[in-house]
């Protein structure tokens, strides 16, 4: 009697949600848009969660009263949990907003993605050298500048 044949099964090879938080699941060259995608998603999910806390906290004058509000804002001096919360919330909002402008231009209006062209060396896709790429670098630069400025205002 021969050996019983083992049933072969294919291996599911999807990285899953980890690809949404790690841009280096694949080491793709010349692809800062992927880093922006991950940052946009991470900042977006964080903001959706923080916004609930934000609405709850800013409702203090209506829910509890102004005394509680005054007590709350008395902690907004120097480096405290309140100022750190503002600093990080504003920081992630800056990136999500700035990159959002770029995405509205490319995704909604379909502009800044270059014109289709005939392939020629070095075979770089038009969308990777279109103005969205320059906008992306501008987003990263402005994000850094505005976040530093936010820190200066909040902790200053």
């Amino acid at each position: 009697m021969g050996e019983e044949r083992v049933k072969a099964r294919a291996l599911e090879n999807r990285p899953g949600w980890i690809a949404s938080i790690n841009p280096w699941v694949l080491k793709i060259k010349n692809n800062p848009e992927r880093v922006a995608f991950v940052l946009h998603r991470v900042t977006g999910v964080l903001m959706a969660l923080i916004i609930m806390a934000h609405i709850f906290v800013t409702g203090t004058p209506a829910r509890v009263g102004w005394e509680a509000w005054v007590e709350e804002i008395s902690k907004a001096h120097g480096i405290t949990a309140v100022t750190l919360y503002f600093f990080f919330f504003a920081g992630i909002a800056w990136f999500h907003g700035l990159n959002g402008i770029r995405l509205i231009l490319t995704e909604f209006f379909g502009v800044c993605i270059g014109k289709p062209e005939k392939p020629k060396p070095p075979y770089l896709a038009p969308s990777l050298k279109a103005c969205q790429r320059r906008l992306l670098y501008l987003v990263f630069a402005l994000w850094a500048v505005l976040w530093v400025l936010t820190g200066y205002i909040v902790f200053g």
């Binding site: 899953g16 949600w17 949404s20 998603r41 977006g44 999910v45 903001m47 959706a48 916004i51 609930m52 609405i55 709850f56 800013t58 409702g59 004058p61 209506a62 829910r63 009263g65 102004w66 509000w69 005054v70 804002i73 008395s74 907004a76 001096h77 100022t83 503002f86 504003a90 909002a93 907003g97 959002g100 402008i101 995405l103 509205i104 995704e107 909604f108 205002i153 909040v154 200053g156």
Partner: protein
């Protein structure tokens, strides 16, 4: 069920365009030298915040609703993507309930604000 393009146009892109302006305004009102005060903490003083809520209440509410629509619709899309569309009903129900809870809370913040003592 509305079409995906209609949902995305209104909940993601139109709110997104609105939020660019409203978020800029919302962040700028916390800049001390634009409000004529000394520090960031001073921009949160009850007098300034009360004036903001009463004078720009409608704008604040539009901002809150737009941010909640944009944020929760985005969160729903991410969760559906991560689960390949499984539990679609459950995820949508949780998101809709959360939206109404926090939209109600935001409305109460503006409508129910107590006058300064």
């Amino acid at each position: 069920m509305p079409r995906k393009s209609v949902i995305q146009t209104w909940f993601q892109y139109v709110t997104g365009i609105l939020l660019i302006f409203l978020l800029t305004w919302h962040l700028l009102v916390r800049v001390p030298w634009l409000r004529g005060v000394e520090s960031f903490a001073d921009t949160l003083a009850p007098e300034l915040v009360y004036h903001e809520i009463t004078a720009y209440g409608v704008l604040l509410l539009i901002f809150a609703y737009a941010a909640l629509l944009h944020g929760f619709n985005g969160l729903k899309n991410v969760l559906l993507e991560w689960t390949s569309g499984r539990y679609k009903g459950l995820i949508t129900a949780i998101i809709v309930i959360l939206f109404f809870i926090f939209a109600g809370l935001a409305t109460y913040t503006v409508v129910g604000v107590k006058p300064l003592g």
